[in-house]
Symmetry: C2
C-alpha cells in the first residue's frame, strides 16, 4: 500500500536538536545511518516502508523514559521497534522521528513457577522465552508464526494457532510497565491473577501498537507443559463439513489446543512445495493436550464427529516424530505460497468472523478468487473464526496491487457484514485505518479521545490506529 | 464506611429542570418518591447509602441515551443501577442526580449456539440467563454468589467460583453497547472471538463501574454444559498444605473448574449453622468438568496430590444429589457467618495475591484475627489467589467499625506488598478509592485522564474509582 499523504514533520531545527541530545545520552547507541534507519522503517509486509530520522538502541526502562522526554520536548515522533515482524506497516516512521529499538532489552527478569507467570523485557522473542523455560516444565503458548518479540506481540494483540485453547495476548498479559508520552513510567497492574481494581489499563495497552506508550516490561501467564500431546489430520469433502466438525468439537467442550484449516488450493500448494501427496481437499490439523488417556479420548471423539461430516483418513498420533511431520505440512504453507510464483510476495489478509458464518465467508471468498488472476490459498485458525487469504503478487505491478486491494476490500466488507473484524491478529498499523472506521463507527471517536488524552502531542507512532 | 465529604451537587434549579424534562420523557417511569430513591442509593454492603434525586426506569438503549442527554445538559449525575448487589457503595448517589434503573431491560436478545455466545440486556440476571439457556445445552459460568445482573457484573468485572477455569467477566464479555456522556451510542466490538482492531474498548468498560458510560447491551461467551461433573471435598492439616495441593493441581494442567478454600474458623461456623460434622480444619471443595472418564481421572489425580500434603477424607462423586449436598456446605458459608452474631452484618474483604504468597497471606491474616475481638472466617477462590475475610460486626458500633477498618487496612497493605490487589472481584466503588491509589501509584493519573477525556463534566457515577 502507498504511504498516506500529508505527514507533518517537525521542523528540521527541532529534529536536529533532539537528535543531538539523544546522541549525548546514548553515544553509539544512537544511529542516523541510512541503512539502519531504512531497516527500522520496514516490516515484513507489502506496505511501503518509511525510515525514521534516527534509531535509538535502548537498554533500560529509564533510558526509554529519558528518550521519550527528549522527543516530547521537541514534539518529535517516537516509534517502538523490536523484531520488525509486523504485517500492517506498524513500524513505518510516517512522519520521521526516532525509532526506539528494544531488542537489547532481551532479559527474562523473573519466572514464578508456582504462580505460572514470568516477567520479561520487550525484546525477548517467543522462541527465546520457551527455550529459557524448557527446564521448568512450563511454556508460553502464543505462537504467531514469526519469531516475534513479546513486546511486539503485546503491542499488536497477537495470537496464532494455540489461541482456541489458551487465548490471545489479551488473555495472557497480566501486567505491563509502560513509558507514557511525558516520560512517566507506570505499571498497569499488580501480579494477581484477577483484579477489579479500576480501569483495565493492561488491556488498553495490549493492542495499542505503540500509539499510547512504550511497553518496557511484560508480565505473562505461563502453562504447564502437557503430560501428553496428540495430533491429527483429516480431509473433508467441503469447507462447510470441516467447519461443522470444528463447531461440534467446541460445543462438546473438547478442550482442543489447536485446530487449523487449509483449503484445497492451499493443500495443492503444500503438496507441490513439500513433495507430499495429501488429498487436495479442505483439511484440518488438530492437536490435543492433556493426560495420555484424555488426549486419546479427545482424538477419538473428534474422529467420530469428523466421520459424521465425511472426514476421511483421520489419523492421530502421540509419537513426537510423527506429530512433527504432520504439522510440518501446516508450517510449510507460508513457504509453499511464496513458491507458487518465484519472485512474488505474499499479502496475508486477516479477517475473523463468528464461526457460524465462517464456512460461508470462506466459500464466498473462494468464488472471488476463482474469478481473479491472482493465486490465493487459504489457511485459518478455524477454532476462532480467523483465516488468512494469502494473495501471492508482484508488488511492483500496480495492476496486481490493485487487484489484491480489491479482493481484500471485498473480503473485509464481507466479514464486517457478518459481525466479524477486519483483523483477527495482525493489527491495524497504517494498512487498516479506513477499515477500522468501517468496523467501529462512532466508537472510533472514543479511541481518538483516549489517544488525545494520553498523547496530546501525538508523538507516539503517529498515523497508526487512529488519525488525530 | 462514612460517606466521603465535599460532594458537589448541581444547583436545585438545574436539577429540577432536568427532572421535569425526564418526567415529560418517561411519565410514571420517573420517580422522585423517597422510598424509591433510598432503595436505589443502597447496595448490599456496610457502606453508607446516598439516595439520588430521582430514579428513571429505562426500557431501551435510545431511552438511556435520551436520559443521559438531558442530564448532560444540566450536568446532573447519572448512576446506573440494576440488581443492587454491589459491595463497595457503587450505587450510592454521592452527589445526588438521577439513577437509571435498568431492570426493565431484561431481555435475552439472541443466542448463537454455534458461536457459543449470546446478547443480553443489562437487567438480565445470571440465574435468569442460565434458566433461559437450559434447553440449549449451553451455560454461562460466571457466578459471583448473588443473583447479580449481567450489566452489573460487567460493570464491576465480577467473577466467583468458576473463574479458575472459565475466567472472569474480563474474559467472557465479547462486546458491549454503551451510552457515552453526551448520549452517543457506541458498540465496542464486533462479535468475532478475537480481534486486533484498535483499542480494547470492551475491556475498558468492563470494570468501569458506570463511571465512563452506561452499558445497555452485553455480548457474552457461553460454554457447552459438560458431559460429566465430579465434585470432591478434602480437609488438610494446614492452610499451606491445602494451597500447595492447589498449586500442584494447576501446574499439572488439570483443568479444574472450581477449587474453593475455607479455613478452620469458617468450617466451625458452617458445622454449627448447617448441623454438619466436617473436620474443623482447612478444607477444599473441588469440581471437575469433562467426560465421564476425564472427571474420574482428574479427581483421582488430585486425590493423589492431596494425599502428599496430608489431605484426609478425600471423597469425590459424580452423583448429582451428593454433589449438591457437598457444595451446600460451601454455599452456606455466608449464612453461617451472619448467624455467628445475631443482628450483625458481614463485611467481606476481597484481596487477591499471587498464589505462591496465598498461604502466607492467609496465615498472617489469621494471626491478626486471633488477636481481634471480631469473628472473621475465611473463604477463598483459591485457584485465583482470591479470598474473603468475612468480618462479622455491628455497623452501629463505631468501635467495631474502626476495628474492621483496621483489620481490612492491614490486610490490603499485606496483599499489595505481595504484589496483589485490593479487590479481586468486588470492585472499587467509593469504598476502596484510597486503596486504589496505594495499588496503582502513577497509573491512577492515567485512569483519571481517561475519565476526564470520556466524561469531561464528571456526570457518570461521580466519586467512584477515581476522584476528578
Amino acid at each position: 500500500m502507498a504511504l498516506p499523504l500529508a505527514n507533518t514533520r517537525v521542523a528540521p531545527a527541532a529534529r536536529d536538536a533532539a537528535i543531538a541530545e539523544l546522541k549525548a545520552l546514548l553515544g553509539d547507541r544512537l544511529s542516523t545511518a541510512t541503512a539502519v534507519c531504512e531497516q527500522h522503517g520496514r516490516d515484513e509486509s507489502y506496505h511501503a516502508p518509511s525510515p525514521p530520522d534516527a534509531v535509538a538502541f535502548a537498554q533500560t526502562t529509564d533510558e526509554v523514559s529519558a528518550i521519550v522526554k527528549i522527543c516530547a520536548r521537541h514534539k518529535l515522533p517516537v516509534i517502538p521497534y523490536a523484531a520488525g515482524t509486523s504485517l500492517e506497516g506498524h513500524v513505518a516512521a510516517l512522519s520521521g522521528g526516532v525509532t526506539i529499538d528494544l531488542m537489547q532489552m532481551n532479559k527474562v527478569l523473573e519466572v514464578n513457577a508456582e504462580d505460572l507467570d514470568c516477567r520479561v523485557e520487550p525484546g525477548v522473542t517467543r522462541k527465546q522465552l520457551n527455550e529459557y523455560l524448557r527446564d521448568t516444565g512450563l511454556f508460553f503458548p502464543i505462537d504467531p508464526g514469526a519469531n516475534a518479540s513479546i513486546g511486539g506481540m503485546a503491542a499488536t494483540r497477537a495470537s496464532g494457532t494455540n489461541a482456541v485453547r489458551y487465548g490471545t495476548m489479551r488473555e495472557n498479559v497480566l501486567a505491563l510497565t509502560v513509558v507514557m508520552a511525558d516520560g512517566r513510567v507506570i505499571r498497569t497492574s499488580k501480579r494477581a491473577r484477577k483484579s477489579s481494581a479500576g480501569y483495565d489499563l493492561t488491556r488498553l495497552f495490549v493492542g495499542s501498537e505503540g500509539t499510547l506508550g512504550v511497553i518496557t516490561e511484560i508480565t505473562l501467564r505461563l502453562y504447564g507443559i502437557p503430560a501428553a500431546t496428540s495430533s491429527a489430520m483429516c480431509s473433508f469433502p467441503t469447507v462447510k463439513d470441516a467447519v461443522d466438525t470444528v463447531i461440534q468439537t467446541i460445543q462438546s467442550g473438547i478442550p482442543i489446543a489447536r485446530i487449523e484449516l487449509a483449503d484445497d488450493v492451499q493443500m495443492d500448494a503444500i503438496n507441490k512445495y513439500s513433495k507430499l501427496n495429501q488429498p487436495v481437499a479442505p483439511t484440518l490439523w488438530l492437536e490435543f493436550h492433556g493426560t495420555e488417556a484424555s488426549v486419546a479420548e479427545q482424538a477419538e471423539m473428534v474422529q467420530a464427529l469428523a466421520a459424521e461430516h465425511g472426514g476421511a483418513n483421520f489419523s492421530w498420533t502421540t509419537n513426537p516424530e510423527e506429530r512433527k511431520k504432520l504439522w510440518q505440512a501446516r508450517h510449510d504453507a507460508a513457504y509453499a505460497n511464496k513458491a507458487l510464483r518465484p519472485g512474488a510476495q505474499v499479502w496475508a489478509t486477516d479477517v475473523c468472523v463468528p464461526i457460524s458464518r465462517l464456512a460461508e465467508c470462506i466459500v464466498e471468498t473462494q468464488k472471488d478468487i476463482q474469478k481473479s488472476f491472482l493465486p490465493a490459498p487459504i489457511v485459518g485458525h478455524v477454532g476462532d473464526g480467523n483465516f488468512h487469504l494469502t494473495l501471492v503478487l508482484k508488488p511492483e505491478d500496480p495492476k496486481e496491487v490493485a487487484e489484491a486491494e480489491r479482493l481484500n476490500d471485498r473480503l473485509v466488507k464481507r466479514a464486517l457484514a457478518m459481525d466479524g473484524t477486519c483483523t483477527g491478529e495482525h493489527g491495524v498499523g497504517y494498512g487498516k485505518l479506513d477499515f477500522l472506521i468501517a468496523e467501529h463507527g462512532e466508537a472510533i471517536s472514543v479511541m481518538r479521545a483516549i489517544k488525545q488524552a494520553l498523547d496530546p502531542d501525538n508523538i507516539f507512532n503517529p498515523g497508526k490506529i487512529v488519525r488525530v
